[in-house]
Subunit: 410 residues, 2 copies
Amino acid sequence: MATVNKNFLKLNGGYLFPEIARRTKAWQERHPGVSIMRLGIGNTTEALSPAVCAAMKQKIDKLSSRETYSGYGDEQGDTYLRDALVTYYKEHWKVELRNTEFFISDGAKSDAANIQQLFGEDAVVAVQDPSYPVYVDSNVIAGRTGSYDETDFCYQGFVYLKSDLSNGFVPAPPKEKVDLIYLCSPNNPTGAVASREQLKVFVDYALANKSVIIFDSAYSEYITESKYPHSIFEIEGSRKCAIELSSFSKFAGFTGVRLGWTIIPHELECEGTEEGMLNRMWNRRQCTFFNGASNIAQAGGAASLSGEGYKECRALVGYYQRNAKVIKEGLESVGLSCYGGINSPYVWAQTPSGLTSWEFFDLLLDKCHVVVTPGSGFGPSGEHYVRVSSYGHFEDVVSAMESIRRNLVI
Amino acid sequence: MATVNKNFLKLNGGYLFPEIARRTKAWQERHPGVSIMRLGIGNTTEALSPAVCAAMKQKIDKLSSRETYSGYGDEQGDTYLRDALVTYYKEHWKVELRNTEFFISDGAKSDAANIQQLFGEDAVVAVQDPSYPVYVDSNVIAGRTGSYDETDFCYQGFVYLKSDLSNGFVPAPPKEKVDLIYLCSPNNPTGAVASREQLKVFVDYALANKSVIIFDSAYSEYITESKYPHSIFEIEGSRKCAIELSSFSKFAGFTGVRLGWTIIPHELECEGTEEGMLNRMWNRRQCTFFNGASNIAQAGGAASLSGEGYKECRALVGYYQRNAKVIKEGLESVGLSCYGGINSPYVWAQTPSGLTSWEFFDLLLDKCHVVVTPGSGFGPSGEHYVRVSSYGHFEDVVSAMESIRRNLVI
């Protein structure tokens, strides 16, 4: 008599983005012909780099000839791509890593959700609040929480690191001992970026408490102020206590092509483990639950990391950064308080007049035909904020801001 | 103080195929310049279909223009591909399914490993013995077994359905009640295919005991005898008790391109669930742990299902089927007892003179320079067998058989 994994039943509501899609679709059906401007989901809109496309087509040409065809790649990813990432980290961020510390995946979302599988069922998990819902939901499904509390919008047993105006949206480590800490910098959704000093405090905490930091650097290419670290491995001591997840999605426009990576240093330690064990466990996990990322995507990913491909992808990032500037200026011009948007593709805007996130979502959709993401979908401290994404055509972003200027009555 | 998921420590040895790669590499290093013929891993070797390549390049062209670029696809897979699969099942196997019952993934291996996440931690799991190691290992990591027993090569708590000569390598359902039953037909590794009547007995068992059958049909296109079912959903009653996993890997040569699918009927039931709940839970799981399969791979997958693409992929299957015939005849000509290979790309050969699987693996590598897969890697009943894969160039398969004829002294 099969039973279901009851942890699924604890999940509060649907996954955020499908819910936004549902509401938007319903509104569109009630208003046929009205053009909606979508600044909700962080979904890339601009063409892929020509050099990246050429590399992927070349890979297909290889697959179309028996002399150059290849089947299964390594579960860890192709060596040439892992080597290219080693070079990328070394040249850009002065971080020395070995190719055996990289694991290529079909995207950072999968890794962000799966990484918790390495750890004990009773691990106490801390997340920035607000944060990317996948960190929380994957641990709920894995059984590391009690039920969802409808009064404080928190899962029991989770430690929420409140990120708000008082700390510039970058929290300090918790007072209590926790086992796993998810950090994302530049942050999704707040757009805040952690300084070296702030990350050092987390690393020191993790070393002192034998915790593991899971650091999501998917937006690191959006940092414009060079004083900020791009990788947790720029911080001394981090090789003993941190994992980094990252992605080609927002840098190379691979949201649909799918490619990401995870770094597990050989020195990463955990209670009772011998040297290198977490790296080996993740290797075993990937060999069992995964069969390598698409070889075509991997060819494109490597092309994005150097030469023309890198320049073209940097230009893509620059395109969205310009959008972010337009959004920040546009929202501020109507009197909204905005954060982020400088080292991040996301602008984090406070709702006016005490509106809830979803109320402001509905208002912006209804009056301005602009879709944003309700901040409350990222955790309780996201309430009274919305996330505005710079992923869109420049002219649509401009139109959206014009519509907000014209139609938003605060 | 983070601790590790201790279930990983229960795993017996490395994952099978990396271990074969390790031994083969070590042998090659001791014998530089000697050419090894690889019939071990089921890794496709022939060029992709031209129509499939054209479709994937066309997709890249779309991604290279902002007018036709697309980012995130649906986590469930693109609708056009799910529709193409609906048509494929209807036209080829007379099976009626809805597109909301299909979930496109990066491959059947991921789904085969992840599907157990839907079920209770205390689920009793039955597997065919021998079977694809992922079914067992994923449930070990999820904590559904006791420790590995070195005396009988079984994990405690698992139910092994012995598949041997006495039942033609297709077992009957267990005497005891189990919750989850993994079935693979055509079978990896034995090459045996289950009849309608044999599957009906499993479906009746599952309905009577409220168990769920996880049916892996990754090799269904290799069935040559039309009396055999290609899908569990050809069996009456299966929509209430079965999930099907399948793949483009062995049909379209997508081992490296990565694409698969899972079918969860809306009627699938489980203890205490309401109608459609397992389908919705998997949807939620995919929306949390996955971000859709590569859009380039999906374009290729759709092209493989109809028109020229389908014909070309059928020709690919025919190529490997001819190899299987050569292998079966070759091995039988030296006196080995062989099974499978008619409705399957795998030939299951009994080791001579009571050799263990690994002893025969080493002998074939050392004397004949042929790599096969030790049957014992698939479970205790695989001992004294090896799996010989038809995935290789025809001329290499012929050479391998000549080498065995010439050099194997039994």
